[in-house]
């Protein structure tokens, strides 16, 4: 019997959104291995680090990037 296909958790997209304190934040959606999509909100400092870690010059360029890059920055 074939095993279910699994892929690494990856960034689906990233969108600028307002934070509760009036600052812009970046909402990054992740698709997990089981297909579930969830979002993580990044403040300006963290978002900048994620963009740099992913060598991305815009949120669109984050699409498809592995979540481990996001995790590495957030754990930093």
């Amino acid at each position: 019997m074939a095993s279910p296909e699994t892929t690494e958790t990856a960034i689906v997209d990233a969108v600028v959104s307002p934070g509760h304190d009036g600052q812009a934040v970046l909402v990054v959606r992740l698709r997990h291995e089981n297909g579930v999509v969830d979002a993580v909100t990044l403040d300006a400092v963290t978002a900048e680090k994620v963009l740099e870690a992913c060598n991305a010059d815009s949120p669109d360029a984050l699409r498809g990037q592995p979540w481990t890059r996001l995790l590495a920055v957030m754990d930093d």
Binding site: S17, H20, V27, D38, A39, A44, S58
Partner: protein
């Protein structure tokens, strides 16, 4: 003879029952009679003129901790009909606090709640360390009622010193914190606040975040002895983690018999399932008997920014974002450079359109610009909105702030039903915080304006109940939130056809002429606190200092 007689009112008593016409009599700080026609003398007469007479509004999430020490009216909250505020939210309170820890805690307040130096430096005298002494410092100067929380972060600092921001507490330290919290509760603290998300000015987690679950459980056992509230800032940036916190709060609520509340919870097109998923879990936990109240704000969320820091507002414009991340002098030089300026404008207008015309000037040295759209200014000056943004920023050395209004939590068809939900606690105003970024006042007026009068998502009676008796019940605030004989005479008279939140205005009424944003009241006729008129549309603020700490 009555102290105050309010005649010809449309009484909305806070229970949610339909409004009815009648008079209201006040004597000795208490409601003497509610409804009917009162043919008695009174020292002060108020003709409601058929307007609504309701219990004073209760704001459960404020940061007036410092402001109350020089402004017992908590301006402009009082004129919006707010007669009771809960402060000390988000793990931060000014007591209990040892003198040696003041600078450290003040820096946290400044970082997290965006409160200016002048709010803490010279605006009041630090006369306390213990919670009871802080409460004493408040008494006698209050024009509205207060329900102070004890903050988990200063509690840890008191017991653990510098190590509060670095490790878990030992069993002895936890016991010391329990005793300290008990003393706070005995002195009138309405509960304990804690946070799982906030950082200090050095981007270190605030002390409360170093607590292990056992420590919070031990503190909640003390709250349980008093039946008092636990207020929490959960990891609201992730729905899944917020749900995990809801489960944790539910266990604490059930184990210790305490109410819990968390905020913020808001709607956003980028996380469209956030509110519904959170409320589903809240409902499950309420069904188990737990009390986990999500606080939801009424007002939409704006994005504000300047060229002083690289806002994510520009992250979809790579050239802009790159320049904004340059060191300040290089940044300024780039925006001054004609060729770069043209390239930036061309990049924004690449599609042939001129976006950003609806953005507004939030703050400027030129007062005539404040509140105007970039499109309007561009028409006057010539050029495009993007060009105006650059030029104004350069002219004022990056001192101009811009506003992109109503960017989230702004769809009434989604927010309205959420606010009407029986398990949603209307609150999270943050009044007194973020004062140099946006106005945190008038959320109650906005509730009636947008969700009662316009959207009809709540009836007038339902909306009043939400921000009066329901809030009092959730927090265990005795004797307030209802118009009934014998209750504390906190009353607001307002015109249901015009009540609103007023325009956002920059003012310089903070200590040392510090600037902040406020909103003037709209549609409020009079505000009475413990039987004394504290504000009226006719006379403004009075000298009344009838406010008190709601718990003895």
């Amino acid at each position: 003879m009555l102290d105050i007689l309010i005649r010809n009112g449309r009484i909305v008593d806070g229970t949610g029952i339909p409004a009815y016409h009648g008079d209201l009599g006040i004597e000795g700080g208490r409601l003497r009679q509610v409804g009917g026609h009162l043919n008695v003398d009174a020292r002060h007469m108020v003709d409601a003129g058929g307007h609504v007479v309701a219990p004073g509004f209760i704001d459960p999430h404020t940061h007036f901790d410092a402001q109350l020490l020089w402004d017992g009216q908590a301006r402009p909250a009082l004129e919006h009909g707010v007669t009771t505020v809960v402060h000390g939210n988000c793990s931060l309170s000014l007591a209990p606090l040892k003198a040696a820890h003041r600078p450290r805690l003040v820096r946290m307040f400044q970082q997290i709640e965006e409160m200016p130096d002048a709010a803490f430096d010279g605006a009041f005298e630090w006369t306390w360390e213990a919670f009871d002494a802080y409460v004493d410092a408040l008494r006698g100067r209050l024009s509205l009622n207060v329900a102070p929380l004890a903050g988990h972060s200063p509690l840890r600092m008191w017991v653990m010193g510098e190590e509060a921001q670095g490790r878990a507490a030992t069993p002895d330290e936890t016991r010391a914190m329990q005793q300290l919290l008990r003393e706070c509760l005995e002195a009138g603290a309405i509960g304990l606040s804690t946070s799982y998300v906030d950082f200090d000015e050095n981007m270190r987690p605030v002390p409360s975040r170093y607590a292990h679950a056992e420590e919070l459980d031990a503190l909640c056992s003390v709250l349980g002895d008093f039946g008092r509230m636990l207020q929490v800032v959960p990891e609201f940036y992730s729905t899944d983690i917020t749900i995990a916190r809801i489960d944790q709060l539910a266990e604490l609520s059930l184990a210790h018999g305490i109410p819990t509340t968390f905020s913020p919870l808001f709607d956003s097109v980028t996380m469209p399932a956030n509110v519904s998923r959170v409320l589903d879990r809240v409902a499950e936990q309420f069904a188990r008997g737990a009390r986990v109240w999500p606080q939801v704000q009424t007002r939409p969320i704006d994005i504000s920014f300047s060229f002083e820091v690289a806002s994510l507002f520009f992250v979809t414009q790579p050239m802009w974002y790159m320049i904004l991340r340059l060191p300040r002098e290089q940044r300024l030089a780039a925006f001054r450079d004609a060729a770069t300026r043209k390239s930036l404008i061309d990049a924004v207008e690449a599609g042939g359109s001129s976006p950003w015309g609806e953005l507004r000037v939030r703050d400027s040295a030129d007062a005539s610009l404040i509140g105007r759209t970039l499109g309007d200014i561009a028409e006057e000056r010539g050029g495009s909105p993007a060009a105006v943004m650059i030029d104004l920023s350069v002219e004022e050395d990056f001192g101009v702030h811009f506003l992109s209004a109503s960017m989230g939590h702004d769809d009434p068809s989604r927010v309205g039903p959420t606010l009407a939900n029986d398990l949603v606690h209307v609150g999270a105003s943050d009044a007194g915080a973020h004062i140099q970024s946006f106005a945190t006042y008038g959320d109650t007026g906005y509730l009636f304006d947008r969700f009662v009068r316009d959207g009809r998502y709540l009836s007038l009676e339902h909306a009043v109940r939400k921000i009066t008796s329901e809030t009092a019940q959730i927090w265990g605030i005795p004797d307030r939130g209802l118009l009934k004989p014998g209750a504390a005479a906190d009353v607001v008279v307002f015109d249901p056809e015009t009540i609103g939140r007023g325009a956002e205005l920059p003012v310089t009424d903070m200590p040392e002429n510090g600037m902040r944003y406020v909103r003037d009241a709209s549609g409020i006729d009079a505000v009475i606190v413990n039987g004394e008129v504290a504000w009226s549309a006719a006379d403004g603020y009075t000298e009344a200092t009838s406010g008190n700490v709601v718990l003895p």
